[in-house]
């Protein structure tokens, strides 16, 4: 009789053992989340007010804050469609929205819109009359060449990039005389600035020429500035030309999740073993004839006809000696004579087979082996 000892841990023990690691993990995750929430910037990417990269605009945002402008960076469309009377909205260069969204921004009634390198759809909605012009201006120090006070005060600016053609009555600056990179339109109490030279206001270029002054003069007109960076999204479900029935049923993802859960349950069911695998030391298996076969391979590789023949002859002789009662130390001639008399073989053949020269090639070795085999067979079955 022998009695049992439970192995592994019980539920209470497992809980006690797991408590501390779980607590520590929990604290770490919580602290990490808190740090993440408080440290992460609300925006990122080119021309972001939180980005310190070369193409970011953190320097400009800080400059604006120093001059008493409250800058609020955002990537959410909702912030751009809030009522904006008495406030300024800056719209970043990238991203894409559909027409409805641009109209909603327009409808919000911002007092001052700054469009950084806008696309055609954006211009249509927010700055009617301004068109994208063909040539892209190289980055160079340029004079204002207009009567926009903000530009005149700033003086020379490192300008370049997308150019726009201004409608009549607009103030157009920093261009090649036909097309311009900075255009201001004023209509009905709303100011719209179209800025093609977005690079002038990035971290890398802001310190050059009068870039900072131009930026402050252009953008810092209102106390509240919403700095909106459009993303590649739109709130409308169907933009253009995507009507017709959907390719996959809309419910498929719920079924997918239910299926994934079912697969998980089945995996847990099938994956649990009934106890651990039992291990065992196994003995080494070496066949006793392994060394002999190894030596045969060595003979073959070295083409050791002579050694192989010697072994075969010696073995045959030992059998013949025993069978015919010939003394071990008998002379070769005596052995051959005795064997010739007993078997009736030709003495020369016998001598050649038993005491001849070692065979020179494989065929000779095979032949010798056959002869010796026949000879010893006759001894075994006379």
């Amino acid at each position: 009789m022998s009695t049992s000892v439970a192995v592994g841990r019980g539920a209470a023990e497992s809980w006690r053992a797991l408590r501390k690691p779980l607590l520590i993990t929990g604290v770490v995750v919580l602290v990490g989340l808190i740090v993440l929430v408080f440290s992460v910037a609300s925006t990122s990417g080119p021309f972001s007010p939180d980005s310190t990269e070369r193409d970011g605009a953190r320097a400009l945002a800080n400059l604006l804050k120093k001059h008493g402008v409250n800058v609020q960076g955002t990537e959410r469309l909702d912030n751009a469609t809030e009522p904006g009377a008495g406030k300024a909205l800056l719209i970043g260069p990238n991203g894409s929205l559909d027409r409805d969204d641009w109209q909603r921004i327009k409808a919000a009634g911002w007092s001052h819109l700054i469009l950084i390198r806008p696309g055609a759809r954006e211009l249509d909605a927010l700055a009617p009359g301004v068109k994208t012009a063909g040539p892209v201006l190289s980055l160079a120090s340029r004079e204002p060449d207009c009567d926009l006070s903000a530009a005149v005060k700033a003086g020379n600016v490192t300008a370049g990039g997308t150019t726009y053609s201004a409608p009549a009555g607009a103030k157009a600056c920093y261009g090649d005389g036909i097309n311009h990179t900075v255009i201001r339109i004023e209509s009905g109490g709303q100011i719209v600035d179209v800025v093609g030279t977005s690079r002038s206001f990035t971290n890398s270029e802001l310190a050059d020429d009068g870039n900072a002054a131009l930026a402050l003069n252009l953008i810092g007109t209102h106390q509240e500035l919403t700095w909106y960076l459009p993303q590649w999204e739109s709130s409308g479900a169907d933009d253009e030309g995507s009507d017709g029935p959907p390719l996959v049923p809309p419910d498929i993802r719920y079924i997918g999740w239910a299926l994934a859960f079912a697969v998980l349950v089945v995996a847990v069911w099938r994956g649990r073993r009934l106890g651990p695998v039992v291990m065992e030391r196994l003995p080494v298996i070496v066949h006793a004839a392994e060394t002999t076969e190894g030596r045969a391979r060595l003979y073959r590789r070295a083409r050791a006809h002579d050694r192989a023949a010697a072994a075969l002859r010696e073995s045959a002789l030992a059998q013949l000696h025993k069978a015919h009662g010939i003394p071990r130390r008998a002379e070769p001639s005596a052995v051959v004579a005795t064997l010739a008399a007993r078997t009736g073989w030709d003495p020369n053949t016998l001598y050649e087979a038993l005491y001849g020269m070692p065979p020179q090639d494989d065929a000779a070795l095979l032949h010798l082996s056959d002869v010796l085999d026949v000879l010893t067979q006759e001894v075994r079955h006379p």
Partner: protein, 430 residues
């Protein structure tokens, strides 16, 4: 925690439910919640496998190749337990049963029998007993393990015991216990008795006849109470496989037959298994205890992949044996090993004792030497011939030194060794 197929089925039905009834996040939530709840309830209602009390009884030793049964007594002091019980053993213990089904109400006890047919010699220790207790709903359960130690020793099979009756008959002839009265059987003087017509006249003791006045006959009996030391080499030469078992196993078989025979003949047998260190050592057990103690000692001996140190062997044997004895050395006939390590140190033994060296020959070599149809086989035959010639040479060297060599195929080694023993006894060389 374990789940069952029912839980999987429930989750599968959940997919259908989501697809047909509630294709929404709340539908998925309902399915997950229901599965979790059912499994949790089942888990909490399942009996605790850890609280079971287990104990074992049954066989502790079995001859290799024969079945053994080990019983597991399971007592349940807690809630009813339904589920599976796996009694795990190492693979070579040869467990025959699938996991046991268990249905154990509170306070009851069950006896579960595990049948083993070990496939290798040696001790087999029971591993963990794992119990899976499924809850009353059959969706989930608990799993726990118990360590219930037990050891089944697989003893050497002693297949050669079939040769024992014939050898014992020959021994009885030697002993004079048979009706035959042949003089010269055995060499030890036993007693004097009166002449009966028909006795061999050459056995008449004339001196005693003169003293007594009537014809007196000397009787003889074979030598008794001789020492037989069986030494098994458990080094690398015994590791090689001949047929389907290592040389060591064939050697053990031969040793057991010899031990059984010598014990019946009245000799004292001792056993030593040795390579670079002593692996098994049985010194002069009581006659009725010889076989049990030998098989027990040999059960856990395995061939080590080291060169046998014959100096250790010789010194161990010398230390054990006082009087003139028969030393049977079961090893391999490897010319290099015999010439370089055995012959230089065997001198002190040869001076006082009779030495028999028994070696298991490999039938594969004969086979290799006989088949010569193509070049590869001719080279194999040449190599096998060389091996055999080397063995013959070293056999001759040993015979010249005074060692009796027995070199036989695996199925013949045990009877051949027994015959050699009988021949030595008959010749009075012990």
């Amino acid at each position: 925690m374990v789940l069952t197929g029912r839980a999987g089925l429930l989750a599968g039905l959940g997919v259908v439910f989501v697809a047909l009834v509630m294709p929404s996040w709340s539908g998925v939530g309902v399915v997950i919640g229901v599965v979790f709840l059912v499994c949790l309830v089942d888990l909490l209602l399942a009996g605790s496998p850890r609280r079971l009390q287990l104990s074992r009884e049954g066989d502790t030793a079995v001859r290799l190749g024969e079945p053994a049964a080990v019983n597991l007594l399971v007592t349940n002091p807690g809630r009813r337990i339904r589920g599976l019980l796996r009694d795990a053993w190492p693979p070579s213990a040869g467990v025959q049963d699938p996991p046991h089904k268990l249905d154990l109400p509170n306070g009851e006890r069950r006896r579960l029998t595990t049948h083993l047919v070990p496939t290798r010699r040696g001790d087999r220790h029971a591993d963990r007993v794992t119990i899976r207790s499924i809850g009353p709903l059959g969706f989930a359960g608990r799993q726990g393990g118990h360590q219930v130690p037990w050891t089944v020793r697989a003893l050497p099979p002693f297949n050669s015991r079939k040769h024992l009756p014939s050898r014992l008959a020959r021994l009885r002839e030697l002993d004079g216990r048979t009706a035959l009265m042949v003089r010269g059987q055995g060499t030890e003087f036993d007693s004097l008795r009166d002449y009966v017509p028909g006795d061999d006249v050459r056995s008449i003791d004339w001196r005693a006849t003169a003293r007594r006045g009537n014809v007196v006959l000397r009787t003889w009996r074979p030598e008794r109470d001789r020492q037989v030391a069986i030494v098994i080499d458990s080094g690398r030469m015994s590791a090689g496989r001949v047929g389907d078992a290592p040389r060591l196993d064939h050697a053990m078989d031969a040793a057991l037959l010899l031990a059984a025979l010598a014990t019946r003949a009245g000799d004292r047998v001792s056993l030593l298994a040795c390579d670079s260190a002593v692996r098994a050592d049985v010194r002069r057990p009581a006659p009725e205890d010889v076989l049990p103690s030998f098989v027990n000692a040999l059960a856990n001996v395995d061939a080590e992949l080291v060169q046998t140190d014959f100096r250790v062997v010789v010194s161990q044997v010398l230390e054990r044996l006082g009087q003139r004895s028969l030393i049977v050395l079961l090893t391999g006939l490897d010319p290099a090993v015999i010439e370089e390590s055995l012959l230089p140190v065997i001198g002190p033994l040869l001076k006082r004792h009779v030495i028999v060296l028994a070696s298991v020959a490999d039938p594969r070599l004969t086979e290799l030497e006989a088949t010569r149809s193509d070049l590869i086989e001719v080279y194999n035959a040449a190599s096998a011939a060389r091996t055999r010639l080397d063995r013959d040479r070293v056999t001759a060297v040993l015979t010249r030194a005074g060692v009796t060599v027995v070199d036989e195929n695996p199925d013949q080694i045990a009877p051949a060794l027994a015959d050699t023993y009988l021949a030595l006894k008959k010749a009075g060389r012990l």
